[in-house]
């Protein structure tokens, strides 16, 4: 049995994996370098470890020949796979050591071999370990490894004996027992294997729980063993198992097996195997559905997996057992092609392997590339086998080492001894490389060949199953030729075919070939034995032999087979003639008729068939003849008669129930086809209805109508098909088929795209067979689920149809239709799943039709009625939108009402769908509305809700509304905070940001204003200043700054005010308040005692002030400030500017001139000073109206000029030559007198007395100067006396002149005048003319009296 074999293979596969080992490692000694080396080793970097060791050896770090290091080196070499070196080191070390040490060395070497899976060498090393030289634990380890190694070498007996030596108390014992059990199974000793494994089974969970795969594997193996035992009968192994504690009745084995297999997790190494086992159990316990599920699941997994492949074969088997032959056949077929494919793939892979093409891919194989290549897909799996796996590891190491050696050689080119060493290593490695490749090839080949064998086996199993099924179900859609091919292939390629099976198959092949006739030859050319010659010979031998009827018959068949139809007919007619009573006659007649028919001699054929039909009915050819006569009549165009024959045929087979053979089935079907063709050739459905009106074949009515319709459909004569169904419906409206035919009409029109017809048909269907149609009085709806479904669906479709149409056409009638259909649907199917959707659409069509109130009602109904509806929120939102829309753009008189409704609807929406993003939109819309209408608190409340639940953008909008509302309601602080938040959240559009900034700035500014109103000036200033800090770009920064400055000025905080003002000047160039700022700065600087800066400000004002008066005042102020702070140049400049620019008013300009005079006096610039004095005098003189002050100034200037002239004059001494100095002094005398005359001209008493005195002084001075003048030299006393007299004479008139002026001053006393000049004049008089004018009073120098 094939399945038994399959199971066995699976068990071997599972148990044949890598034997289990304990993971115990011997402890390593601690030492720094030791650790370093070990570190490299554990990192897997053996090369570095060895390099480090050799370096240590070379530079003396490691003492040569010391035991500890030798052993370590040996370990390193061994673990790196350099066994020869390791062995050498171990041996050299061993020689000098104790037997125990030697034993450990051999153990270490063996272990290294073992770990590198060099089992033979490992065993050899282990055997060198002396008896009782190792501690117990190590000894058990050795025994386990040796057992496993021997197992791997297929030495199960040796393995077993080694493993049995491990004491049951050792923790290694379970591993030992498992391997013993495995070994037993491998050699076919089931009882031994099972007993071993079951004893371990009890210890699972105690010792080996840490390895889940161990448990999985054990469960899998054990499950399979139990399964196998159960399958092959309890007599064998399972009975023995019972002795070991499994006292279970029959079939319990399946349960136990199932339990174990189920314990294996769905994912993991053993999942597939476990599942397959479960499937087999399900098959055996007849839970076929379960089996099928598992197998189908497995079938979807990696198709290269062995278990999956077996599942592919098992699946059709299950289907077959389930009776689903069609699927079974198709699964078998696909299995066949799958396995053929895989086998081909393996063949080409093997070829590549042999030719060495794959050598290079060995290295890359572990990475997935090989698996992705369909050609090499089996290679990675091959690696899982122990031996190739190990070899590949070696191979990789060897290659890596070779590469690294090359590099090393380059680096160490200098050291000769190392180079030699390396070269030696290299040669050895190269050799090893070649050998390993060869071994890998052969190992891989073996694995792949085994795999190919498995696949080949599966392939043939599939072929066999496929071919067999054909025999059981001829009409299963299988081409008999395929089956034939499959049988042949099986016989040719199946490895072992029992004689019994072969006999069965050969019989089947013969049957198929007969059935196929000549075709078979094309498929399988087989020698055909021709009997014609033999029969003819026989006839000739015994022409009259009674047995010749037999010979004739066979001869006819032989001719027939050879295609000699005429000869065959001859033979048959001969037979009929000669042996009319022969049992062959009926057949012969039939064959003759058939021949005639084939020769298209229908008339004769019909009469020949008549001959058969006239005989009795149990004639085996009767109905075939009837059928063929029908065809003959058909060919002759006699359809009504043909119909009678065909219906008779049908009637016969139906009443006899004789439709089991394929031939009969075909005949029956053909008769039906013929009937159909008759009606087609007549008048179609009209003929059908006529026919059934006359005949009683009522059981065929539907078949006939349907066949006819089908025929028309196949011919694409859709109207005729529809007509056919329609005819039927007309005749049999209450038939259960009628609504279904209508459905077909609907479908047909739909498929053909005749929309009008389609819609009409739909409407006819619903109108005639709708839920309330009379039809349902006689029929049970539950039997018409298809119709009911169609009704429902078409109602919906109609609604949708009209909906679309309405949208396209915009016709009101279409809207009405659509709405009606929706309404109908909702009325009839309120609880349907799609009712919600339809209701939604209904609402939509109402909206589209402009029935807004109804639409809103329906949208709301959707929300209310269908809490589970996915678009519920959309409906709610649609209602909201609609109300919004209407509130905004609906008829004017309704808007307010809509607005109220929109408010309710929207709030309700937000309440119902708080998580919906649109809820926030809706709230936002409301909030915006409220804001627009000026209902700010409401707007804020609404927007706040958005802030808590909306998206970032919505939040932003909401914040904007809140901010604006707060702003509008004068809550500027809140507004500012809101705007702040808004700006902080970022991503505000540019234009929006501008607006926000503006508002924010205004908010801050308004706070300042408010503070100002309450008199909190410092707070106000802070707010004003904040505007610039918070919103530097705002346009009101200037105003705010200005107001801040004004506030600061009010508070007399000059430095701060100055700072703000200066900033304003800098930051707001061109601002209209700049002038005001300058004014304020002037004030501030003045007030904070910074006169020069103040002056600069005034100077600015002098330019910018609009009012000339203010300009001049500023200029004056600036000049004054410079003047008083000794910035004289500046002052002079500005005074001059003043005089120039503002000659009027006259008096101020005059003062400016006077200032200039004072200024230049201070600087000592006499020239300029006098210029301005003269200016004063000139201007005053020319002034149209006299002005006292001006006159005073002019007068003063005149006095000063005169005084100066006087001083100049006085300074001139009369020296020799007298004439010259005299002339000079005289000239100056005149000028001085003129100057004083000018002073006197001002007519002022004081100036007159002054001028008078001064003129007196001038003359007096001249007189005295003459007297004091330098005398000419060389004069004797007499001459000098003469000269003096002369001088006196000259001087006298001057003295007289002086006296005259002094006297005239004196006289002025009588006018009530007395001043300094008069007093001085009196003094001069007393001095010059004491006899008259020096008359002092009599007075006391002191008084003695006290009281």
């Amino acid at each position: 049995m094939s399945r038994r074999w399959l199971l066995y293979l699976t068990i071997v596969l599972v148990s044949g994996g890598l034997p289990l080992q304990s993971g115990a490692m011997s402890e390593q000694r601690a030492d720094l370098l030791n650790r370093e080396l070990l570190y490299y080793q554990y990192k897997g970097d053996g090369f570095s470890a060895i390099s480090r060791y050799r370096a240590g050896l070379a530079n003396g770090e490691i003492p040569a020949g010391q035991e500890k290091w030798t052993r370590l080196a040996a370990q390193l070499y061994a673990s790196w796979g350099l066994f020869d070196e390791a062995k050498e080191l171990y041996s050299s070390s061993a020689a000098a050591q104790t037997p125990q040490q030697r034993a450990i060395n051999w153990l270490s070497l063996g272990k290294a071999y073992f770990e590198r899976q060099h089992y033979a060498e490992a065993v050899a090393a282990f055997e060198r370990v002396g008896i009782r030289q190792l501690p117990k634990q190590l000894e058990y380890e050795r025994l386990l490894m040796m057992g496993v190694a021997l197992y791997q070498l297929d030495n199960f007996a040796g393995s077993s004996s080694s493993l049995w030596s491990i004491h049951p108390t050792s923790k290694l014992y379970p591993f030992a027992r498992i391997n013993i059990g495995m070994g037993s199974i491998r050699i076919g000793s089931w009882p031994g294997g099972i007993s071993g494994l079951s004893s371990i089974k009890k210890r699972i969970g105690i010792d080996v729980e840490a390895d889940p795969q161990f448990a999985d594997r054990l469960n899998t193996v054990f499950g399979y063993i139990l399964l196998y035992e159960e399958y092959s009968g309890s007599n064998t192994a399972y009975g023995k198992v019972s002795m070991h504690g499994f006292t279970t009745p029959k079939k319990k084995g399946y349960r136990d097996a199932l339990e174990m297999l189920r314990a294996v997790p769905d994912k993991g190494l053993y999942a597939n195997k476990s599942l397959l086992g479960q499937a087999w159990i399900a098959i055996d316990t007849n839970e076929l559905e379960r089996a099928r599920e598992i197998l189908e699941g497995l079938g979807k997994k990696d198709p290269r997996h062995l278990v999956v492949q077996e599942a592919k074969l098992a699946l059709p088997y299950v289907l077959e057992r389930e009776g689903d032959v069609a699927r079974a056949i198709s699964q078998y077929r696909s299995a066949v092609s799958f396995f053929e494919n895989e086998r081909n793939r393996l063949d080409s892979l093997l070829q590549q392997l042999d030719s060495g093409e794959l050598d290079n891919s060995f290295l890359t194989m572990r990475r997935d590339s090989a698996a992705q290549n369909p050609l090499t897909a089996y290679l990675p799996e091959m690696l899982l086998a122990p031996l190739p796996h190990r070899m590949l590891g070696d191979f990789e190491d060897i290659n890596r080492l070779r590469v690294q050696l090359d590099e090393w050689k380059n680096q160490l080119a200098g050291s000769a001894s190392l180079m030699a060493d390396l070269s030696r290593q290299q040669v050895a490695l190269d050799d090893l490389h070649v050998r390993t490749v060869k071994m890998l090839r052969s190992q891989a080949g073996e694995q792949l060949t085994e795999r190919r064998r498995r696949i080949n086996h599966y392939l043939n199993q599939a072929r066999y199953g496929f071919a067999e099924l054909y025999g059981r179900q001829q009409r299963g859609g299988v081409d008999p030729r395929e089956a034939l091919v499959a049988y042949h292939a099986y016989l040719k390629e199946a490895p072992e075919v029992s004689a019994e099976v072969r006999k069965h198959i050969v019989g089947r092949i013969a049957d198929l070939e007969l059935e196929l006739g000549e075709e078979a030859e094309e498929i399988v050319p087989a020698a055909k034995v021709s009997g014609v010659a033999a029969y003819l010979a026989e006839l000739e031998k015994n022409p009259q032999d009674a047995g010749n009827e037999d010979v004739l018959y066979k001869l006819a068949r032989a001719y027939e087979q050879q295609g000699e139809t005429t000869k065959a007919l001859d033979a048959l007619q001969k037979l009929i003639r000669r042996y009319p009573n022969s049992s062959y006659v009926a057949e012969a007649r039939f064959r003759v008729a058939e021949g005639l028919f084939i020769q298209q001699n229908y008339q004769q054929a019909a009469s020949t068939y008549d001959g058969i039909l006239n005989n009795k009915k149990d004639n085996a050819y009767y109905y075939h003849a009837l059928y063929k006569r029908g065809w003959s009549l058909f060919k002759l165009g006699r359809y009504q008669q043909a119909l009678d024959d065909f219906f008779a045929v049908l009637e016969h087979y139906d009443s006899a129930g004789d439709l089991n053979s394929r031939a009969n089935q075909e005949l029956y079907a053909d008769a039906q086809r013929a009937i159909n063709m008759c009606f087609v050739n007549m008048k179609g459905p009209a003929s059908v209805s006529e026919f059934f009106a006359r005949n009683q074949y009522h059981r065929y009515i539907e078949t006939v109508y349907q066949s006819l319709a089908d025929y028309y459909l196949a011919q694409e004569r859709f109207s005729d098909a529809v007509q056919t169904w329609s005819t039927y419906v007309q005749h049999y409206p209450n038939s259960q088929y009628s609504p279904r035919y209508l459905l077909k009409i609907v479908d047909t029109w739909k498929q053909q795209g005749f929309e009008k017809n389609y819609v009409a048909a739909q409407e006819r269907l619903i109108n005639d067979y709708g839920l309330h149609a009379p039809f349902w009085n006689n029929h049970k709806p539950e039997q018409f689920s298809d119709v009911r479904a169609a009704l429902k669906q078409n109602t919906r479709l109609l609604a949708e149809h009209y909906h679309i149409k309405a949208r396209e056409s915009g016709n009101k009638s279409d809207y009405v239709q659509a709405a009606n259909w929706y309404r109908k649907y909702l009325k009839n199917y309120p609880d349907e799943k799609d009712a919600a959707e339809l209701n939604y659409l209904y609402a939509e069509i109402l909206e589209e039709a402009g029935q807004y109130r109804n639409a809103v009602a329906e949208y709301n109904a959707v929300v209310k009625k269908y809490p589970q509806f996915a678009m519920r929120a959309d409906a709610g939102y649609a209602a909201v939108l609609l109300t919004f829309q209407q509130a905004e753009s609906g008829p004017r008189q309704e808007r307010e009402q809509w607005r109220k409704q929109s408010y309710e609807t929207a709030l309700n929406f937000a309440k119902l769908f708080p998580g919906d993003g649109r809820a926030s939109d809706v709230l936002l819309h409301l909030a915006e509305g409220s804001y627009r209408r000026g209902e700010y608190p409401e707007a804020i409340t609404l927007a706040r809700r958005v802030v808590t639940q909306g998206s970032r953008q919505q939040k932003q909008k909401a914040l904007l509304i809140i901010g604006h509302s707060q702003f509008e309601t004068g809550k500027y602080l809140s507004a500012e905070q809101t705007y702040g938040t808004l700006l902080q959240t970022g991503r505000v559009a540019k234009n929006e940001r501008r607006e926000i900034n503006k508002r924010m700035a205004l908010s801050i500014y308004r706070q300042g204003e408010a503070a100002q109103k309450t008199g909190n000036l410092s707070a106000a200033v802070k707010h004003f200043l904040r505007v610039r800090e918070e919103v530097p770009a705002s346009s009101i920064v200037a105003t705010a700054e200005y107001d801040a400055a004004a506030g600061l000025i009010s508070m007399k905080n000059w430095p701060a005010a100055i700072e703000v003002l200066e900033r304003f000047r800098e930051e707001q160039p061109g601002h209209k308040l700049q002038h005001e700022v300058t004014r304020k700065l002037a004030l501030a600087y003045t007030s904070s005692n910074e006169p020069i800066k103040a002056a600069q400000e005034f100077e600015r004002l002098a330019v910018v002030e609009s009012d000339a008066e203010k300009r001049s005042a500023a200029l004056w102020k600036a000049a004054e400030l410079y003047d008083s702070n000794n910035y004289l140049d500046q002052a002079a400049k500005l005074y001059k500017q003043y005089v120039k620019e503002y000659p009027a008013p006259f008096d101020v300009a005059m003062e400016a001139r006077q200032k200039l005079v004072a200024l230049y006096s201070k600087t000592g610039d006499d020239k300029r000073r006098d210029y301005w004095r003269k200016q004063i005098i000139d201007v005053d003189r020319k002034a149209p109206v006299s002005n006292e002050r001006s006159r005073y100034l002019a007068m003063t200037a005149a006095v000063e000029i005169a005084d100066a002239k006087y001083r100049d004059y006085q300074a001139v001494q009369l020296t020799i030559p007298l004439k010259k100095s005299l002339r000079k002094k005289k000239k100056l005398l005149k000028q001085a007198i003129d100057a004083y005359a000018l002073v006197a001209g001002y007519g002022d008493a004081a100036t007159i007395t002054r001028a008078g005195y001064q003129i007196g002084e001038i003359y007096y001075d001249f007189a005295r100067a003459l007297m004091k003048s330098e005398r000419p030299r060389g004069l004797n006393d007499e001459e000098l006396e003469q000269y003096d007299i002369l001088l006196e004479e000259q001087a006298f008139p001057f003295e007289e002149k002086a006296l005259e002026f002094y006297r005239s001053n004196r006289i002025r006393i009588t006018d009530g005048l007395y001043d300094e000049w008069i007093r001085k004049s009196l003094e001069r008089l007393a001095e010059i003319f004491p006899a008259r004018y020096s008359r002092p009073e009599k007075q006391d120098a002191y008084i003695e009296a006290l009281q």
């Binding site: 004196r1306 006289i1307 006393i1309 009588t1310 007395y1314 001043d1315 008069i1318 007093r1319 009196l1322 008259r1332 004018y1333 008359r1335 002092p1336 009073e1337 009599k1338 007075q1339 006391d1340 120098a1341 002191y1342 008084i1343 003695e1344 009296a1345 006290l1346 009281q1347």
Partner: protein, 194 residues
């Protein structure tokens, strides 16, 4: 109420103690009469300085004396003289007024004040004070002399000047030729101008 009495006693005793602490020795009060010897000595020294023309040294002493006894006219007048001589005419006027206030009969003061006014150019004031002095003592030759100078040099009323010079000559026995010469000179000027 023995207890209260005792209490009052205690309080009173306390106050008495406090009062005792605050007492200071009696202040010696000045008498209205100067100790003639001391003041007159000072005055004498001040006058000595004036006599020697040491006005700078005399001034503070006189000032002191006016402060010490402002009721005496003498120091005021001397102070007036010092101010007048040192051209501090406003101070001089004030000092003279003080002197006049203390002793209205002292015509020396009027004489000095007339000079101070003249120096200030207040010729009418000077004339008036001289005339008041003449009312006080019409026979004061010096006042006539000074009034004569005032009319002569300043008010330029030669008639009156001649009349007062003449009265001066009369009172002093017509022996001052200088004044006689002035009168004849003034008469000449009168004739010239008529």
């Amino acid at each position: 109420m023995p207890i209260l009495k005792h209490f009052n006693k205690t309080v009173l005793f306390g106050i008495a103690l406090l009062a005792g602490c605050a007492t200071s020795p009696p202040v010696e009060r000045g008498t209205s009469q100067p100790r003639s010897s001391d003041y007159q000595v000072k005055y004498h020294y001040a006058l000595e300085a004036m006599k020697q023309g040491q006005l700078e040294s005399a001034e503070p002493q006189m000032k002191m004396l006016t402060r010490e006894h402002p009721q005496f006219a003498g120091p005021w007048l001397n102070l007036c003289i010092i101010y007048s001589e040192t051209a501090r005419l406003a101070e001089a006027e004030k000092a003279c007024q003080q002197a006049l206030k203390q002793n209205g009969k002292m015509n020396q003061v009027r004489n000095q004040l007339g000079i101070v006014y003249r120096k200030q150019g207040r010729f009418e004031d000077a004339r008036r004070i001289y005339e008041m002095a003449l009312q006080q003592n019409p026979e004061s030759a010096r006042i006539h002399y000074n009034l004569g100078v005032l009319h002569d040099l300043y008010l330029q009323n030669n008639d009156l000047a001649i009349r007062h010079y003449q009265r001066y000559l009369d009172l002093t026995g017509n022996k001052e030729k200088k004044v006689k010469r002035w009168i004849s000179q003034l008469n000449k000027e009168l004739n010239k101008s008529r």
